[in-house]
Symmetry: C2
Subunit: 219 residues, 2 copies
């Protein structure tokens, strides 16, 4: 069975959950949280030297990390990927855009507003990120006002990559009704086969960090 490392409140981990649910893969989940600094624990770094979640560990010991790489890996030869290089280039274009220009604005805004003890202390940084996030949503809207899906005629892993932090845009103050193309697209993604909502526990078993790694560091 696969092992997924990460928490249910991470949009990047959610991407892994979306693809694992879609392909019907059973997995257990180890609750490794950025907010508890666990990705920097030496025991976790032995699994993923990049020090980040999500990670998917296969039974053969193979480690897959970076949400985009996990989406790619498990999409396999399904119709969420493509045989056509122009199409796969376009899929990756949107996925790199997400990691570089979209997630760093929207995810950090969400973190500052909902996961810090004193959101008011981060008002300056929040305000700096707002136009970046607005611009990223505008780029998506320019595509989705005339097309059903981001990268192709059908749903691809580009849509799975962009959904998690786009669907939280309302929670950081954006009026999503001002982006009607995005609004319809969110519903389209949610209508995908075996779609699971954000925060859904899809694992067959859940282990805490200590349950999986043991209570003592192995340094």
């Amino acid at each position: 069975m696969l092992t997924l490392f990460g928490t249910l409140d991470s949009g990047n981990v959610y991407k892994a959950q979306l693809i694992l649910a879609r392909v019907g893969a059973d997995y257990r989940r180890v609750d490794v949280a950025q907010t508890r600094n666990e990705p920097r624990d030496p025991r976790f770094l032995a699994v993923n030297p990049m020090g980040k979640v999500p990670v998917v560990l296969r039974e053969d010991g193979h480690v897959i990390s970076e949400s985009g790489a996990i989406l790619y890996h498990f999409a396999g030869s399904s119709d969420l990927w493509s045989k056509d290089r122009d199409t796969t280039t376009e899929i990756l274009r949107w996925m790199f855009f997400e990691q570089y220009s979209h997630e760093p604005a929207l995810a950090v805004m969400r973190y500052l507003r909902h996961f810090t003890d004193h959101p008011d202390r981060h008002a300056g940084r929040f305000a700096e990120l707002e136009p970046q996030a607005r611009r990223a949503l505008g780029v998506m809207e320019s595509r989705l006002s005339g097309h059903d899906w981001l990268a192709a005629e059908g749903c691809t892993i580009a849509d799975f990559a962009l959904y998690p932090y786009t669907h939280t845009a309302g929670s950081v103050g954006f009026d999503v009704s001002r982006f009607p193309g995005i609004e319809r697209w969110l519903e389209r993604v949610e209508s995908q086969p075996r779609f699971v909502p954000f925060g859904y526990e899809g694992a067959v078993e859940t282990l805490s960090f200590a349950e999986y790694f043991g209570s003592e560091p192995e340094e």
Copy 2:
């Protein structure tokens, strides 16, 4: 002929130059500079709504943007990519790592130190980024201390993606001799066939923004 949009002082544009040189593709270059805010010009946005360079425009009008997608596209079925999904997953893992955890630290440090009028005013931000950049270099070193290449037994586009902003690490204050695996790897990348150095003009023709787009906005 292909058209590459971007400047010679951008590490992301350099990635496109590396792969175009490697595959022997002729291209002209349009000098679109972030520092002149040209990627946000409506005429450029009509080419790439994402508002970023590099962009490669094919003669058939097809637009490819995001440096990682450009590397992927032109690697084609060469040995810089792979037929094995575990290997291609690993290549993409490193490429997403670069865009999310490596470039935002190293490239921004370089920008703050070398491309702003008053680098001293950004000392605080620079100091914040230093540990992130050091961590990213440490992740690379942990791989390269025991392997010749980042993602596979041979050179792949992951190496092309990581080279540009790693090779500038010395210019933002890192002592690269403290990362001997990285130091040897830099030389290995530089020994690749048809390698071109940073800042090299590989275009058969270069046009300014005004020469390409015309001197008046078309709004």
